[in-house]
């Protein structure tokens, strides 16, 4: 409970006789005012001082002797880490972690700037890889979410630079990210970190597909492997968070195909060979289902409806219809499960997906042969009607769910 709620509603509770005035005062002492706001001013002040120092150094950087530049880089690197440790021990954890993160960023900057200083622009990746490894080590030492996030971003940058500038994919970076950060998340499940991890790994998987010049749909094999890892995670919210990005990617991809698929100009890059693709997908599906069964969440197997390979239909209308069927199957299943579980958030999500799919379907299937004004009129009416109907259903479901006062949560996966 927040202090704010107590302050605003507390008097009301006293007037209604829920609590006494003495109890209200007692409650208020339980939630002392947050001193974060007070701590913010010195932080902002030191940030400004730091920025001014930085701009002085940056403006004169080229004029400084080499050794001074090197000394400045290493000095600020060590100072950031030492300062972080100092503030952490003093109990100012967030400032401390911020300084440690700054130290990590300074390490990357030092590598780049020192290489420039000596005109060493090699094509090997050692320097950047060392940056990612340092981030990984700090994440494990400090067990910090900030450092985890930073390391995921750094690994993504390293891989992006590697494929973009050096024209090679670093499997070491990809496997290191997956194992180092993946195992960390596995041991310390966390919803935010799950999303970050999945996003970072998807980015690298996308770079790999692009680098190998293989068909785009192969992307869904590593993506769904990430999804399957979420099935084996015992912590449900963390697992769901890891599964969010792969599902979002699959949904957006299918939606894009439904919208723009008929031009078929990228058909040559789209479809992986049917047999091997389905075999690989089936293998991942088996891993995922085994995980779902182990954790008693077989109900969520409907997520896989999104992976129905509707994109193997070629040409305008068949492809549009097939992808729309996939989208409807998925968003429909989300809605049905949400209503079964009486989960208001998922009802909202399912409604949005369903309405989105309907809008695309209507656009695809009627744009060609309806007069434009009629098209917009009917489309608007369709969407209004649909949203009204879905909202009524949702209201009814949630009303029935509140009557039997919290159904036994064991049935919910």
């Amino acid at each position: 409970m927040s202090r704010k709620l107590l302050e605003t509603d507390g008097r009301d509770w006293v007037q209604r006789g829920v609590i006494s005035e003495a109890q209200r005062a007692q409650l208020l002492t339980l939630y002392p005012t947050d001193d974060a706001a007070i701590g913010l001013l010195p932080l902002l002040g030191s940030l400004l001082v730091g920025l001014s120092a930085l701009s002085v150094v940056a403006a004169n950087w080229q004029g400084l002797p080499e050794l001074v530049r090197l000394g400045l880089l290493l000095g600020s690197l060590v100072a950031a880490y030492a300062g972080g440790e100092y503030f952490r021990r003093r109990g100012n954890g967030s400032l401390g972690m911020g300084l440690v993160a700054l130290g990590l960023i300074l390490f990357g900057a030092s590598i780049v700037l020192t290489s420039q200083l000596y005109q060493l622009i090699g094509y090997d990746l050692t320097g950047l890889l060392a940056w990612a490894v340092a981030g990984m080590g700090l994440t494990w030492l400090y067990r910090s979410r900030l450092l985890f996030l930073l390391t995921a971003v750094i690994s993504g940058i390293v891989q992006g630079y590697n494929t973009g500038q050096l024209g090679a994919f670093s499997y070491l970076t990809a496997i290191g990210t997956a194992l180092g950060l993946g195992y960390y998340w596995w041991r310390r499940p966390d919803a935010l970190l799950g999303g970050v991890l999945a996003g970072g790994l998807l980015w690298q998987a996308g770079l790999l597909i692009n680098h190998l010049h293989v068909k785009i749909t192969w992307f869904f094999i590593p993506a769904m492997l990430i999804y399957a890892l979420g099935d084996w995670q015992a912590d449900r919210p963390a697992g769901r968070a890891l599964q969010g990005p792969p599902l979002a990617a699959a949904f957006l991809f299918t939606l894009g195909l439904a919208l723009f698929g008929e031009s078929d100009f990228y058909a040559g890059q789209l479809r992986a060979p049917l047999g091997p693709y389905l075999a690989a997908l089936a293998a991942v599906l088996a891993v995922s289902l085994a995980g779902k069964q182990r954790r008693g969440r077989l109900g969520s197997a409907t997520d896989w409806l999104l992976l129905l390979p509707g994109f193997y239909f070629t040409g305008g209308l068949p492809l549009a219809v097939a992808t729309l069927v996939v989208l409807y199957a998925y968003s429909g299943s989300v809605l049905v499960r949400a209503h079964q579980e009486h989960n208001p958030d998922r009802v909202t999500l399912g409604t949005v997906l369903f309405v989105l799919t309907t809008a695309v379907a209507y656009f695809k299937l009627t744009w060609g042969f309806l007069d434009k004004s009629l098209f917009f009129l009917l489309g608007g009416l369709l969407l209004l009607g649909l949203s009204w109907w879905l909202r009524r259903r949702a209201a009814r479901t949630l009303a029935t769910s509140s009557v039997p006062a919290a159904p036994p949560s064991a049935s919910q996966p």
Binding site: Q23, Q26, Q62, L77, S94, I111, Q119, I121, G137
Partner: protein, 191 residues
């Protein structure tokens, strides 16, 4: 709403959210920071050593666009050996993109080096020959484009930045015995 238990849940002092690192971790942290400092120092030492111990060669560039400096603090260099005829390829299999390539260089009469062969493995050298490591970027029907990691020159403040015309440059490069190369000097060629 029961009010009795939460007394123990009140944050106990400001340090509650950040337990200090255990002693063993602190030692690891020390090593990790030391390793980072050593790594940066290693980059610097590699730079010095390449210049001090390396073999010096000079290469000619294609005309350099001086407007590069308006956009950043480096020049983009294209060497004469950045694009070489495919007939110089000495590998058994045809060259592929991203493949490593070792370019054998020999001095011409004017002192600048030119390519005499491209090898998939490091070739043995004699006398005045030198080897530069690169990677194949593009394979065309009659020629190859190569990349050496020497395509950027960070222009120091001491060098005149007021260039008006596109000029060829002569670039002095140090090639260390372990294969690392760095630019040590850049001069404008008068033509």
């Amino acid at each position: 709403m029961s009010l009795s238990p939460p007394l123990t849940l009140v944050p106990a002092g400001p340090a509650a959210g950040t337990p200090p690192l255990p002693a063993r971790h602190r030692r690891w942290l020390l090593w990790l920071v030391a390793a980072q400092v050593l790594f940066v120092l290693g980059v610097a030492v590699a730079g010095y050593a390449t210049a001090a111990l390396g073999r010096t060669i000079t290469l000619r560039t294609e005309p350099v666009d001086p407007r590069d400096l308006l956009y950043g603090d480096y020049l983009r260099l294209r060497y004469q050996i950045s694009e070489l005829p495919g007939s110089l390829w000495r590998g058994a299999a045809p060259p592929r993109r991203q493949q490593a390539a070792y370019v054998l260089l020999e001095p011409r009469s004017d002192g600048d080096f030119e390519a005499t062969g491209i090898y998939p493995e490091a070739p043995t050298t004699t006398g005045r020959q030198a080897v530069l490591r690169g990677s194949v970027q593009e394979v065309w029907r009659r020629s190859l484009r190569l990349r050496y990691g020497l395509e950027r020159y960070y222009v120091p403040e001491t060098m005149s930045r007021r260039r008006r015309q596109r000029r060829r440059l002569r670039v002095t490069i140090s090639v260390a015995p372990w294969g690392q190369a760095r630019i040590t000097q850049v001069d404008t060629l008068r033509e």
